[in-house]
Amino acid sequence: MANPLVVTNLVKSFNGRKALDGVSLDLRQSEILGLLGPNGAGKSTLVRTIMGRVTPNSGEVAIFGRGAPAGDNVAREQVGVVPQEIALYPLLTARENLMVFGRYHGLHGDALDHAIQESLSWAGLAERAFDATKQLSGGMKRRLNMAAGVIHKPKLLLLDEPTVGVDPQSRERIYQMIETLRAGGVSMIYTTHYMEEAERLCDRIAIIDHGRIIASGTKDELVRSTIGDKREMVMVEKVPSLEAVFLHLTGRDLRE
């Protein structure tokens, strides 16, 4: 079976400046590939090229073994997108937003109703289904944003910083949602600036800078290839992180 995603030697220039300079990567079944890099490194251009929104100067994107040039939405029917922005209709309810995007993905009738119920439940929003999206909290909007990206049950999911601006409880919930997807066989590209998030969720990590993948592999492989096999034993007194203190005080349960 072909890998969910194979990117081969992508090059894209904007006004003579190379945003992608020969990027190649592949994503395996049920794998989460973390995409790390500083601002302006080329992460968003890469994700948008995979989405079909950017036409590369050269190179190729293949989804489940099929070439997927920009604009080929048929090749991307198995792809879900969770953008960094809250890309929803603020005046519509949570349920209506899911209905709209479900229909855009070709769902109808009972299949659509079932998918909406499942997505609301998955995102912990069943009780707020009939609230206008603009009235939801930041964390809820983030989760609804994710639900709209997976309403059609994609096999490949592109997540662009899905935990930006949310409280620790919501972030925990989002981690659980992502774990559920992985357990269901969904393969994911996950861009983030939070290293601990990448460590916790990602099977492999690709580090991109100046439009090039400068390193990739598991965390251990990255450590080995950059710092080496040397180990230094240091005795430290383990001080809990501030987040651990916060969660200890406020609990892990979702508040909203």
Binding site: T55, A87, Y89, E96
Partner: protein, 408 residues
């Protein structure tokens, strides 16, 4: 898919009270204001206020003032002297004053050049009003001819003798008798004596409430443009929020999305015009039911062209703020030139011809053909063809401009 885009547009509108008001309530309010101001009057000529200063105070000058007062086109206000009349005009409460000179009662009317030293009427006017002085001048001449026939006869006798030779004593006596009889006729009978008989027949325009059709079409098309450009801005909201990227990553292509937006804007425009014209029919007796076919044709194509124009404005603009500025300027300009605010037939011929470049002038012409001229449907072929032509051009340009959102 297009149905889903249309449904989404309506769901958003249903939740947006401000947009709902702008689409359906404000146009009705504006239409009602225009209709109340201009539509309540059956007579097509408004009354002109004229200040009369009678410096002569003779029997004849009083008869003239009374004859002017009896004219339905004039509203006569007496003033004691020219200075007070001038003050009223300067204040803006009237545009014209007529001063009847001392000696008018004893001076014979002359046909031909005025006698040297004969007293002359004076007119004080506000030149910003180009119509009222002309109306008063014309009514003065008409009143002297029709309302004071005895003066005309005695003046005419003098002119006849001067140019045609002396009258016999018998002729002179008969004419003097006739002049006296006419002078003693009741004023109403004097007023009835027009020089030529004139029957007036309205050959265009609804018999019930003629001017409503103008304002129904004018206000309707103007607000349709505002609504279409505002609703077209939803596309920019989707661009700015990242929703467009998300939509285009589904089965929806840019062409389908624009087609869906077009159908939504068209349905919104049709609904808006239906609501407004039904309101016009219920409240202002606009004859909608007797012109349904023409209304349906014109509403369909007008809403289509306005919808594509809204999409064009949205695709030209980079941001919502830019769209707001561009659309306000564009809609107000083409509404003014196209006849929404001011009937085109009152414009200069040059401007009337030039305004045919604008699609909304064709829309208004079509509606006016239906409701005002009650012309056959075949007269709508030209407006419909032009409107559809513009719609195709607008949509094509909007589609081309939207490529920048499609791929980078």
């Amino acid at each position: 898919m297009i149905g889903n885009i249309v449904r989404t547009g309506w769901m958003n509108l249903r939740r947006d009270r401000a947009a709902w008001m702008l689409s359906f309530v404000v146009p009705i309010v504006f239409f009602s204001i225009f209709a109340s101001i201009f539509g309540g009057r059956r007579s097509s000529t408004p009354r002109v206020t004229v200040l009369i200063v009678d410096e002569d105070r003779s029997d004849r000058s009083k008869r003239l003032v009374n004859a002017l007062r009896a004219e339905s086109a004039l509203k006569v206000i007496d003033k004691a002297d020219a200075a007070s009349a001038e003050a009223v005009i300067k204040k803006g409460d009237a545009a014209v004053a007529l001063v009847i000179p001392k000696g008018f009662g004893t001076t014979q009317i002359t046909f031909g050049p005025a006698k040297a030293g004969a007293p002359s009427f004076r007119m004080l006017r506000d030149p910003s009003d180009m119509i009222a002085p002309q109306v008063v001048s014309g009514m003065l001449q008409k009143t002297l001819f029709v309302g004071m026939p005895d003066m005309m006869i005695t003046g005419g006798m003098d002119a006849l003798e001067k140019f045609g030779g002396p009258l016999t004593p018998q002729q002179r006596e008969n004419l003097q008798k006739q002049a006296t009889n006419l002078k003693n006729l009741p004023r109403q009978k004097q007023q009835q004596g027009d020089l030529v008989k004139l029957d007036v027949t309205d050959v265009v325009g609804s018999k019930d409430n003629p001017i409503i059709a103008f304002y129904g079409a004018g206000v309707g098309v103007m607000f349709l443009l505002f609504t279409a450009s505002g609703a077209g801005g939803a596309l920019l909201d989707e661009v700015e929020s990242g929703t467009l990227d998300r939509i285009l990553s589904t089965r929806v292509s840019m062409s389908k999305l624009l087609a869906g937006k077009l159908v939504y804007l068209w349905s919104l425009g049709v609904a808006q015009l239906i609501v407004m014209f039904v309101w016009g029919a219920l409240v202002f007796r606009l004859p909608l039911m007797s012109h349904l076919a023409g209304f349906a044709i014109m509403t369909s194509v007008t809403a289509l062209t306005c919808a594509t124009f809204g999409l064009l404005l949205a695709s030209v603009s980079r941001t919502r703020a830019q769209l707001s500025a561009i659309s306000t300027l564009a809609v107000l300009s083409i509404s003014a030139l196209g006849g929404s605010m001011f009937p085109r037939f009152l414009m200069s011929e040059k401007l009337q011809r030039a305004s045919l470049v604008l699609f909304n002038s064709w829309a208004l012409d079509g509606y006016i053909n239906v409701f005002w001229r009650e012309a056959p449907l075949s007269t709508l072929v030209a407006p419909v063809a032009v409107l559809i032509g513009w719609a195709v051009v607008f949509f094509f340009i909007a589609r081309q401009l939207a490529r920048r959102w499609e791929f980078v």
